[in-house]
Symmetry: C2
Subunit: 293 residues, 2 copies
């Protein structure tokens, strides 16, 4: 069975899996994400991580921000509606001729609003590899959550919401940082804030400072503050995306922690989402990409 | 006429006015805001700025975050509803006995939601000094905008919205920073986004990423991006505070740039706010505080 390497290369991390067919025989990761690299440093970063896996010319299939304009090589967007994978992968020139690198193109959308994805198309391909008839919405939570309407094997349309990045940015860089320390998370506070924000989404903007005032005036604990902030932001996201998920079959594909929180919020709205781990879907999608004609 | 010194001491700046009665005869400012000082460094910072103004014991009246728990001396909150000033100012012990320093207390609110102000109570006192019958809403835009319901000479209730800090934080620390450089500002884009967000406040969260996608896909200019971001956030603030301003007499008291933007947004909703400069209102309020019995 031929060995190949699957690479998930995002803005902040690089993760490589050594594969024998569909079987993973090694996994390595580094923090050499696209964000800290220049065009010239992608190849050394990759060799540094997996050079000793190479015993001859090896197929390496990558997805994610590695294909952005500021990445290793620009993999031109395909345009939705379209299948998650298709056409040719973008070949990358390398100095080391053992590396046979290709990159999965991202997908863009021009209407009903401008939007882009890089990496998530591979996860959608992974979801469809397990369930080719999937007809519904894939919620892919992370720094930027994507809501993707999938039908008849295609990405019909999608919507990006910056909830994860907003949470981190507000919790680290605003006055609320004094009231949101630690990692503890109050689920009840979270669900209450999700429900409030779904009922009155216009209140979001005004309610943020309450997290600081409640701490100053009666020492509200940070776990409650974090639950409320997350609930206000995810509640706002669910209000914005209600036409996407209401009455639809929903799959949640993210890292375990953030998937749990989206699952809680969606179940409170009467949905029963299926949780499929993001890493597995990415790998299944990269395997599908490798097999493209 | 006795000389005294009025001091507006916030989180990021210190501004002192040398006064002869109600006449300003000198103004100085430094960046020694409360945020960079410890309890021991307030006195040297003040002396460094205005030491040569002292020719004997001098009354110095301060407002702002200098009275916070992390400030020079904690000036315990008064509780709304209440007059903007009242009771005693908080006296500060100093080593230099020429300094006779006092601090205006802030105001807290426990219901309908927890909230606090420090410094804005002095601006409200300034507004009332010019117009003691004012009955309406004072909008005090800044890092944290305060909406203050004023009636019968009292602060009836108030609401803090973090719009200014959210704008700066999102524009500097998220992926949108790549698409929002410079200072140019597109008023039409701003007003369009205010109107859209007032009509559909639930869309805020989803619309932010469009600013990035529109730049990636068709090079949307940064002035338009900044106008849209500001419009989305101020539109969201106006949606949250609609019960405050709708059908009310509105005064806008802030720095000139940000007051202009709030004025534009409020006029588009059919209001005709009065603009009163924040620095003048602070000074009038400090003069009123000095004259307290």
């Amino acid at each position: 069975m031929t060995r190949w390497i699957a690479v998930d290369w995002g803005t902040t991390s690089l993760r490589a899996m050594l594969m024998e067919g569909e079987r993973t025989i090694g996994t390595r990761a580094s923090e050499d994400g696209m964000g800290r690299l220049t065009r010239e440093t992608f190849e050394p970063s990759l060799l540094n991580l997996i050079g000793d896996w190479l015993d001859g010319p090896t197929e390496i299939v990558c997805c994610g921000m590695v294909g952005a304009r500021q990445g290793w090589a620009e993999a031109a967007y395909r345009t939705a509606p379209c299948t998650p994978l298709g056409g040719e992968l973008t070949r990358v020139e390398t100095r080391d001729n053992r590396l046979r690198v290709s990159i999965v193109p991202g997908i863009r959308q021009t209407s009903p609003h401008p939007d882009v994805m890089r990496g998530e198309e591979t996860q959608i391909a992974g979801i469809l590899r397990d369930d080719s008839d999937f007809d519904g919405v894939a919620c892919l939570p992370g720094t930027h959550t994507k809501w993707v309407h999938v039908s008849a094997g295609e990405v019909v349309s999608f919507r990006t919401v910056m909830t994860g990045e907003l949470f981190e940015t507000v919790a680290r860089h605003t006055v609320l940082r004094h009231s949101l320390g630690g990692d503890a998370f109050d689920d009840d506070a979270f669900l209450g804030a999700v429900s409030d924000t779904l009922s009155r989404p216009e209140a979001l903007s005004a309610r943020l400072f309450e997290l600081r005032a409640a701490d100053l005036l009666h020492g509200q604990d940070a776990a409650k503050g974090r639950g409320l902030l997350s609930g206000l932001l995810i509640g706002s996201e669910l209000a914005a995306t209600k036409p996407w998920w209401l009455g639809r079959d929903v799959v949640v594909t993210g890292a375990p922690g953030i998937s749990r929180v989206y699952d809680l919020a969606l179940r409170a709205q009467g949905l029963t989402p299926r949780l499929l781990p993001a890493d597995d879907m990415t790998l299944a999608g990269l395997a599908a990409a490798k097999d493209l004609p």
